[in-house]
Amino acid sequence: MKHFADLYWRLDAITSTAEKVASLREYFAAAPADDAAYALTVLAGARQLRIVSTRQLRAWAAEVAGLPDWLVEECYAHVGDLAETIALLLPEPTERSPGETSLADVVRRTILDLRGADDARKREVVTATWRRLEPRERIVWHKLLTGGLRVGVSRALVARALAEVAGVEPAVMAHRLMGDTVADGQAFARLLVPESSAADSRRPYPFYLASAVDRPAHVADDLGPVSAWQAEWKWDGMRAQIVRRGDDTTIWSRGEELVNEAFPEVVAAGASLPPGTVMDGELLAVRNGRLLGFAALSKRAGRKRITKRLLDEIPCVFVAYDLLEWGGEDLRERTLDERRRLLEVLVPAPFSATHEQGVVPDGVIQRSPVVDATTWDDLESRRAMSRTLGVEGLMLKRRASPYRVGRVRGDWWKWKIEPLEIDAVLLYAQAGHGRRAGLHSDYTLGLWDDGRLVTVAKAYSGLADEEIVEIDRIVRATTLEKHGPVRICRPSVVLQLAFEGVAASTRHKCGVAVRFPRIVRWRRDKEPADAGTLAELKRMIHAPS
């Protein structure tokens, strides 16, 4: 546990990639296989169990520290990280163990064994563990216990470190890390074997991730001849791979979760693919030839059990845009052009994005069409149609490029449409977390409606650190009321809010919901009276025909 806590804190403190990889490598090379397996699962960002609720943890910590609940809450609002708050509040450990305790052992005894235990038992184990762990270990353990451990390393870095331990190529290791979690020491040991094992049959390939173009207005200058690029619509769905090998069909999300249960119709359709086929594409919710949008898709994605009714209400399709394996052969080193030709043979039917143009062809697996254009101007004007089509813009993929691993810049670009924008007034503020702990950096913004300001969105990014500090001071100085960690402020700050779309919503009091709201700049030149109105926002709603 100490070693893992050390690793956590080292990764937290260093910024250099090379040093991070070195720290990971040292940990994995030295850790017992069972510890390493658990550490890897956590570092790779697998969904963790939440054995104890944060509410329970707070209550027990207040008891043990002899502090009133309200003071623990104030501390949490100030620190911005519950695991850290509690670690700082508890008394010093009294039963420190001198040597290293196994991470896997600690996790089994104090976390996994508590599954299904009653609260009294949980409390007993938690308080006993507090007496044994030092503050820096407690923080890590709290995060494990509440299922919230995040470490600032990408999967690619973990793969690089493990590849160095195993002596294989990073891409090979990245592939081995896909799919099923590494459940125990044996699985971890298999990961490190020099040649590939037979247990790979369900494994998807590491996703190639696109980057946003640097200068959306200068794509023609920056990317060279248009003929070198294949353009596709950028779908507003869920990235996924269909893996068909032997008799097995699996669907993997970009987060490498198996999502078969959520998309039974896609699994069924995948069963008709020839064995040895892997496609990369997008899951989309589509009914009667019309895209239902991301919100509808989310209703499906979150479920383990899909009812017949939900299947009828929100039918889903898989729109394929790349072919990664064909006849059992890994195609990733072939050019996009070649892969595309094979994909067109495998999936002849192109998906149509346009609700106007009408009907989506039958079939659950379809092909993402290429957006044809002979000049950048052509493409630019097609891109301008994105919002009407319900897509986020265009994808630009280099025709001669292989299918790469992770976020490698240069061959796949997102060329998104410009966001919608409106000036809104800061109404409530709440202290942030992590780097912004203790600073009021989470804002609730409002627009004018009939002479009053009504809240329309919460947003918490996009400003420079110095601006956040400055607004924090304004928030403190203009606080009218405090409700726990939330401060209601006298309207004075106007912020330019950007968002991807607006939809009517019954869940929001103002009647609309904005998608991906974020703050682009502080309009110091504007007074609250100059801010936008709810009516303006409502006019931006794109009503699907």
Binding site: V79, L89, A437, G438
Partner: protein, 359 residues
């Protein structure tokens, strides 16, 4: 009967004695708890401070106004109000102000700490009826570790950097913290170098009889200083500028109570944070408050709301918030200075002396 002390727009005022304590505007007569800029402002008619703090105060407020002093154990009557000064342990010459009149005693702490600090006298509890206390770190997440343990950590860090050929830079408030750090570290590890703003105070400390290890100045017009073995003590304002480039490869740590919190350290991008503070931690505040025997406590400067409520609920004290013009309650990265509690006190730090301005 009106209170012996009241907050006016110039600060904490004793009408009966016609004097202010740490006024934030120019007043005729100012009693100063310590020389940090948010407590000691230039331009008052007459000052009164602890004898040990006179030289430092003079350095800060400049010439002109007379400074009266009181030694430990001495008291003075100002318009019939009895005033004495008692060590606050915050920095050299920091004092609590004891004010007595008509059988009632008030004590104003200024800033204080209970932990050991070889550069100043230890905090001395003073019995009183009304205790005016700071609360910069008045939340229970703030609990300082033994300064000796932190000193060992700083030394380990310095030694490791020296062995890697990297200059260690420790950012510390130029008045008080910087000198304290110099006494905490093991000066056999390598040379200690002080920024000009730090050296100005080092001289005032030495002139006041405080023993400090040998600290080198940066020579004027130097292009390159040291060979990666040094520990540089500098105010946080050097971060933005080019001054640090003098030292080649560096690793930068911050010494401040706020470094207790990971989020603050990360936000500021420090490679290392040492939670060394010249303020009382939460248990220290409680200990100090309990020791006074005061029935009434006025809390200021920090987490005033929370501490006052805690005192009411757990001790049944008549505790309330004494408003100040400082918003407090936040790790003040405000003006780029995470110094303990002094958001606007970067004057000396942001304008280094001329001999360093060109480097």
């Amino acid at each position: 009967m009106p209170d012996l002390l009241e907050v006016t727009e110039s600060g904490l005022y004793c009408e009966r004695g016609d004097f202010h304590v740490d006024p934030w505007r120019r007043v005729a007569r100012a009693i100063i708890t310590h020389a940090h800029a948010d407590h000691a402002r230039p331009g008052c008619g007459r000052y009164l401070c602890a004898a040990s703090g006179k030289t430092v105060l003079r350095t800060r407020i400049g010439g002109g106004s007379p400074i009266d002093t009181l030694r430990r154990g001495e008291s003075v009557s100002i318009n019939g109000v009895r005033v004495s000064l008692h060590p606050a342990g915050h920095l050299l010459g920091s004092a609590q102000v004891r004010i007595e009149h008509g059988g009632e005693t008030w004590v104003v702490t200024g800033d204080y700490k209970l932990h050991d600090d070889p550069t100043c006298d230890r905090f001395e509890p003073v019995e009183c009826d009304v205790f005016v206390t700071e609360s910069t770190f008045g939340l229970p997440v703030y609990r300082w570790r033994d300064p000796a343990e932190i000193a060992a950590e700083i030394n380990d860090w310095w030694r490791a950097n020296r062995d890697a050929g990297r200059t260690s830079v420790i950012l510390a408030y130029a008045l008080g913290k910087a000198q304290r750090i110099a006494t905490m570290v093991d000066s056999t590890i390598g040379p200690i170098v002080g920024h000009g703003a730090v050296m100005k105070i080092v001289e005032a400390y030495r002139a006041s009889g405080v023993r400090l290890p040998s600290i080198d100045r940066v020579p004027p017009r130097a292009r390159r200083v040291g060979d990666g073995r040094a520990l540089v003590i500098a105010p946080p304002s050097v971060l933005g500028g080019s001054w640090l480039k003098l030292f080649g490869e560096t690793t930068v740590a911050m010494a401040s109570g706020w470094m207790t919190l990971r989020g603050v350290r990360r936000r500021r991008g420090f490679e290392r944070g040492f939670a060394v503070s010249d303020h009382a931690d939460f248990p220290g505040l409680l200990r100090a408050i309990d020791a006074t025997g005061a029935r009434r406590v006025l809390v200021t400067h920090g987490f005033s709301d929370s501490l006052a409520r805690y005192l009411r609920e757990t001790r049944g004290l008549d505790a309330s918030v004494l408003p100040t013009p400082f918003t407090g309650e936040s790790p003040p990265d405000a003006s780029g200075s995470p110094d303990d509690d002094t958001p606007d006190d970067v004057d000396e730090a942001s304008t280094p002396p001329a001999d360093e301005a060109d480097s």
